[in-house]
Symmetry: none
Subunit: 206 residues, 2 copies
DNA sequence: CTGTGGATCCACCGAATGGTGGAGGCGCGA
DNA sequence: TCGCGCCTCCACCATTCGGTGGATCCACAG
């Protein structure tokens, strides 16, 4: 049985979703919330398997709530259900850890299929959302390091301090620090040691 | 007159080296090669006294070429000249029979001195390389970390600060620092980033 | 032409790290 | 029994790093 929590600031929408899932086999709505903060609470305390999350909400928006849930309840899959599919909405949500992204014009059957997929850890995206993502991935530099950044990381892996690396590349120490900050961002780490580790795991280093 | 053969896959580097030795008394560059296999050929047929050998090259790397030369032209002294001084590069090269190991940031005078020394059968090592060797010789159990040290290194690779690692292992921060100092000694490095790098190169980390 | 990404650089600050030289306890093998 | 390796912990200090919030320049694409 999939334990579902609905997070949306409109009571009408919550009601509609509750009805939609009332007759759904294998899915039970265990809780609701009217804003992000409350949603995080409910999803955590109720041990939700899937969280249907709106984006635009008072107190705490869906992106922040999604990020918070990644921390507090890693087992809960967040499925974004919203009206907007602009790039500025989609990307942060995905980055925050949402497993799926649907629009509110989705049919009830699609919705249920998406919830079941999310419960299995699979991603379901609305077609227009897929477009945005493709656009991101195709962009050079999405996820991978630039040549310069790889050079810097390699030097760091070889034991160079920022100062030494700067000398080796004939640039300033400040530039090394900036490159490293970008590397940390891209690899999702906070220090040079784990950056080196990620570099090896992703086969960027030799 | 010392007969010198230059083996490096970068034409620029070969050019620079040729110029460096153009005005060197008692040294004549008799040949060049762009990869290890070719280098073995040239050094053998040209009766080289000293071979300046890069490590990272296509077709046959410097280590394999050095080993081959030990067989085919025992009179040729192989002097490694490379950018990298990690233990995983140094030790195989020395084992393969290189008589010296210099880094590419060496000054031209150092280089010429090293070539003359190699021709006399003397060893010249870059200071950092000496470190690695000392590390190997000084310690009987060298090369391997204790279980505890591997744990610490793994935590560091996963982004733990000393404090976090201490908490994870239920020991004091001071102990983490001590373990790390031991790790640095054993791996021949000076900081956590290159310790992680060496850890991956030696397959101690996942 | 304008926006965007990449590379370079700056200053400031607190926190983390590395270097050094210890110390004590414990188990194991010579 | 003694020594040695290993694990634990301590203090002090200089250096380095990471975080932040900028800035300029350039090349390239839309």
């Amino acid at each position: 049985m999939i334990r579902l929590v609905i997070v949306d600031d409109h009571p009408i929408v919550r009601g509609g979703l509750r009805d939609t899932f009332a007759g759904a086999e294998g899915i039970v709505v265990v809780g609701e919330a009217g804003d992000g903060a409350e949603g995080v609470e409910r999803a955590t305390s109720l041990a939700a398997d899937v969280v249907l999350m709106d984006l635009r909400m008072p107190r705490m928006d869906g992106v922040a709530a999604t990020a918070a849930l990644r921390e507090r309840a890693p087992g809960a899959r967040v499925l974004i259900l919203t009206t907007f599919d602009s790039e500025s909405d989609v990307l942060p949500a995905i980055e925050a850890g949402a497993i799926g992204y649907l629009l509110k014009d989705a049919l009830p059957e699609e919705l249920m299929r998406a919830v079941r997929a999310a419960a299995r850890g699979e991603s379901v995206l609305a077609p227009s959302v897929t477009q945005h993502l493709m656009g991101q991935v195709r962009r050079p530099g999405a996820g991978s390091l630039t040549d310069r950044e790889k050079q810097v990381l390699q030097l760091v892996a070889n034991g160079h301090s920022n100062r030494d690396a700067a000398k080796a590349l004939f640039i300033g120490e400040a530039s090394i620090k900036t490159h490293l900050q970008h590397i940390y961002d891209k690899l999702g780490v906070r220090d040079r040691a784990s950056a080196v580790a990620e570099g090896y795991r992703r086969r960027l280093l030799t």
